[in-house]
Amino acid sequence: MGDTVIRIEDAVVSYREDIALSGVSLTVESGEFVGIIGPNGAGKTTLLTVVNGVGKLLSGRVWVLGHSLTAANGHSLRKKVGYVPQVLDIDPRMPMNVREVVMIGRYGLLGLFKRPGRHDWKVVDEVVELVGMTHLSRRPIGHLSGGEQQRVAIARCLAQEPALFLLDEPTASLDWKAQTEILELVKQIHDLRKLTTLFVTHDLDALPHTCDRVVLMKDGLIVDDGIPDQLINTDSLSRLYNMPAPAVEERQPHMHVKES
């Protein structure tokens, strides 16, 4: 832990009439692994897009990697921020293979008019190996399963050699085995590359094992922020998801949640 990597002050974001973030403040230190949980529509994805400069602020300020984020420097900052979205709907006949898709991660760094060189392909092959996809590296991207495509998405982010790693429900719509594998991979990469990671998830079971810190979001606000073992309990989840405590307890065996 050390320097502040992300500082958000009173961020407000709106999509037409709907307020997605209504005054969110958050500070993340270098090396932290922060889990973000909350019901659908809580503003979790918007929070990530504010950090990578895609989300447009109505008011408030954001500093990322020491720079104040503005409309003008969003592109250059995004080159240093790896972002894994939810499983994408990729054309099964897309004429690109795994290596080529991972190489996209280097395109922003390369800049205009420059083509990938030997070093770039070496980086790509290394990250493809790191996510365990070397045996499929020449396969068309559309021929991969959802779990494999998420591994490629993670490799693409790592090819950026990012300082900041943002993941938006990377395990949503994957089967249990693929979910577990992706989570382990993310944690392994976070430790190995000493990244700062923001991880939006619905997988409450995995949170205590992976995250140093958890942020609870609801209705466009951060409602709680702390250590997972202390924060994830029946009461907090009952409030967060508007669910009666007995209903949360019923699900407890699956969530490994502590009783309050």
Partner: protein, 280 residues
Amino acid sequence: MDLSIFSYQFMQNAILSAFLGGIACATIGVFVVLMHMPFIGVAMSHAAFAGALLGMWLGFNPLIGAFALSLGAAAVIGPLADRGELTPDTSLGVIFSLMLGLAFLFIGLMPGTKSGALELLWGSILTNTRGDIVLLAVVAFVVVALVFIFYKEIQATIFHRDIALFVGLPATLILYGVLFLTGATVTASLRSIGGLLIFSLILNPAAAAYQLTYSMKRMFLLAAAFGVLSGWVGLLFSYLFDIPSGATIVVTSSVIFMLATIFSPKRKVKGWQEKPAAEV
């Protein structure tokens, strides 16, 4: 077969026009096919057609009218779709119907014979002038040069616009650039192929190439080759059977697409997947 016809200037102009138009249209077609925006070609070609008719009605160069309206349509389609209030197909449909309405309005308002307007609808590659060829050459060169120079940015945007944005590329600018290039290509090819038929020459060669390869570079090359082949074979049939060249070019491109679909290795996806990993 008497091939002396190919020694005439008008036929040489037509062959050169088919070559240049085939390359430009098919290259644009790769974007249209891979970005799943087939309606763009339709909307653009009708915008160019309406613009040319406006020029004919008001007495200025139809080419300028075609350029103005197709580029205007490109400038409206992108932001309209980006606002997210309408799906891209809906905004394209609105532009398409507006341009079609304007085209018929201008035909109706045009005094005298409408044969010039019909020529723009069906195309007349055999009457192409040096000026038409120079315009086609400039557009084809610009399209190919931009694809070559910005290949990695274009490839990333084609793969997924959001991903291109997330890695720090100006994805919106690239998309709008593609829309403008589409407008310019459609305009330059309007007199040769015709407003109604040009869409097929944009879509069919690229759709045929899409059936045959998993490499984007190869898809660009195959599409251009199919575009040129469609033009040349279409011209030959037009001459042999004395039928409109625009129609034969488009029918040829459709036949190439059908053949590519029948022999597509992508139809054997299962077999491909079953290969041992080491071989793929």
